[in-house]
């Protein structure tokens, strides 16, 4: 039943998938709290463009994806919500342009054409130990930042103005959030694909919101849902020869339906 565990490439794929899923679910709590869900999608798409550009010009896709994701994350951080064009509109614009460019580059360049499907759906089964190393390095950095600034991030995300009057440095906290989001998405996009990254940002925390009624439980519950979904998705993908990332997303969806039922029956 668990033959897949004996395959080294699957073990690495599972480890990287778990790291990506858990990191996305962790930052996803703040993505929902700050109501910037579509910024998550736009950064994921930009990271995908970065991967394609990297493959096309022959530089490491991690580097190109990281640079583009962090640059666009900082742009969103700097973009003042009170400007003439609302931030939502700019987010949609960036998402659409980067999606269009990604499609054109994939269609017209044989070197990256083969990667076309992976940009959207990812390919967790073909990751390397190098990918694992990068994921581990990034996740340790993000985790330390997350734990160090957790309370300030919660306060600034929930009630920005009061947090500012209490002496919290709002601009710095926002910068850290967008930096973490950029790093997580760029790490995950290369191997997991747009759909997996966006789904992991949103669905596990959203499901945890339906089931649990305290902040700590929501975060832990979200990580648990993400972890179980990735592991079971890997196993089912190996067993039934199905694409891994889309399968994991379907399991996220299943958990959400279960969450809705639990929510109706009882609140934990």
């Amino acid at each position: 039943m668990f033959n897949f565990w004996h395959e080294p490439f699957l073990r690495i794929g599972l480890a990287v998938g778990l790291i990506s899923g858990l990191l996305c679910s962790l930052i996803g709590f703040f993505v929902i709290l700050k109501r910037v869900v579509f910024i998550g999608l736009a950064i994921s798409q930009i990271a995908g463009l970065g991967v394609v550009l990297g493959l096309m010009v022959g530089i490491n896709p991690y580097i190109s994806s990281f640079i583009l994701s962090v640059v666009i994350s900082i742009f969103f951080w700097l973009y003042n919500t009170e400007r003439d064009i609302p931030r939502d509109t700019v987010v949609a614009f960036i998402y659409l342009i980067s999606a269009g460019l990604t499609t054109i580059l994939i269609a017209k360049n044989p070197r990256v054409e083969i990667y076309g499907f992976n940009v959207a759906a990812g390919n967790l089964l073909y990751v390397t130990t190098g990918d694992l190393f990068v994921s581990l390095l990034g996740s340790v950095f993000v985790l330390l930042l997350f734990l160090y600034f957790f309370r300030a991030l919660v306060f600034i995300s929930y009630d920005r103005e009061t947090a500012l009057t209490s002496g919290i440095k709002g601009a710095f906290s926002d910068f850290l959030f967008y930096l973490m989001l950029g790093i997580i998405v760029s790490i995950s996009m290369r191997i997991s694909g747009l759909l997996f990254v966006f789904a992991s940002l949103i669905i596990p925390p959203m499901t945890a919101f339906k089931i649990f009624t305290s902040v700590n439980r929501i975060i832990i519950g979200s990580l648990f849902i993400s972890g179980i979904s990735v592991i079971s998705g890997f196993w089912l993908s190996y067993t039934f020869d199905l694409p891994t990332s889309p399968l994991i997303i379907c399991i996220y969806g299943l958990f959400f339906v279960i969450g809705l039922v639990i929510n109706k029956i009882c609140i934990c």
């Binding site: 929930y158 009057t165 919290i168 902040v215």
Partner: protein, 245 residues
């Protein structure tokens, strides 16, 4: 009276929008200042400018001492989706003092519980904020502001959407804090009738203009009618003032 802060020929607003022009006034330690004006006349802009959340477009603000503001924003702006408990909400204000990688200290927890007790809601410490009534939520926000041990309590429409009993209880609580702790209070409201018997001084805004600060004793039907451009009468009854439109 010891001056806390002064505004000199200040122009207040957001980006290209000027909300208030040429505001000059001073706020003293121990004042209970009611900031009165119809919706959209710049009360919140004024509060945010005083607290430093908005930069002045022109003029200057002079703070005579390092002021800690305990801010109670309009509770309607808070998301009711997140399942924070009352004590978690209050403890947020202690975040600045908490150490990274550590939980809140005993001092933080004691400050939070003390504030809740003072506001009469210690028994609700572990309740979910979104399950509380409007009046209880407002008390939580006041307790949160108090847990910072502020010099100035700043309240933006604290009685909005409350029933008559709720309004009276909240205003009485604020008055008690002002009297027992000599806390300086800045309270913005569009309901003069509600605030007139609680504040000592009043700052009026109407038609993008600041009409300056009036002491309670200076208020008259003529002054109010002139400021708001409609007939307003002030009556005295049992040592209290009534505003009749």
């Amino acid at each position: 009276m010891e001056k806390l802060l002064e505004l000199e020929h200040a122009q207040l607003g957001y980006r290209k929008i000027t909300v208030l022009n040429d505001v000059s006034l001073s706020i003293n330690k121990g004042d209970f200042l009611g900031i009165i004006g119809p919706n959209g006349t710049g009360k919140t802009t004024f509060l945010k400018s005083v607290m430093g959340l908005l930069k002045l477009k022109k003029g200057k603000i002079i703070k005579h001492t390092d002021i800690k503001f305990g801010y109670c924003m309009q509770r309607d702006f808070l998301s009711n989706v997140f399942p924070f408990t009352v004590v978690e909400i209050v403890l947020m204000m202690r975040t600045r003092y908490s150490k990274p990688f550590h939980g809140y200290t005993n001092n933080d927890r004691q400050a939070a519980i003390r504030s809740l007790r003072y506001c009469g809601i210690e028994h609700l410490a572990n309740s979910r904020f979104y399950n509380l009534s409007g009046g209880q939520q407002q008390r939580v926000l006041i307790a949160r502001a108090l847990s910072l041990e502020p010099d100035v309590l700043v309240l933006d429409e604290p009685t909005i959407d409350l029933d008559v009993k709720g309004k009276k209880e909240i205003l009485y609580l604020i008055l008690k804090l002002h009297r027992e702790y000599q806390l300086t209070v800045l309270l913005a409201s569009h309901e003069l009738n509600q605030v007139i018997n609680y504040a000592d001084k009043f700052l009026f805004f109407a038609d993008s203009r600041c009409f300056g600060i009036y002491h309670k004793k200076e208020l008259s039907s003529e002054i109010l009618s002139k400021i708001f451009g409609i007939d307003i009468e002030i009556c005295h009854f049992n040592n209290k003032q009534l505003v009749i439109l």
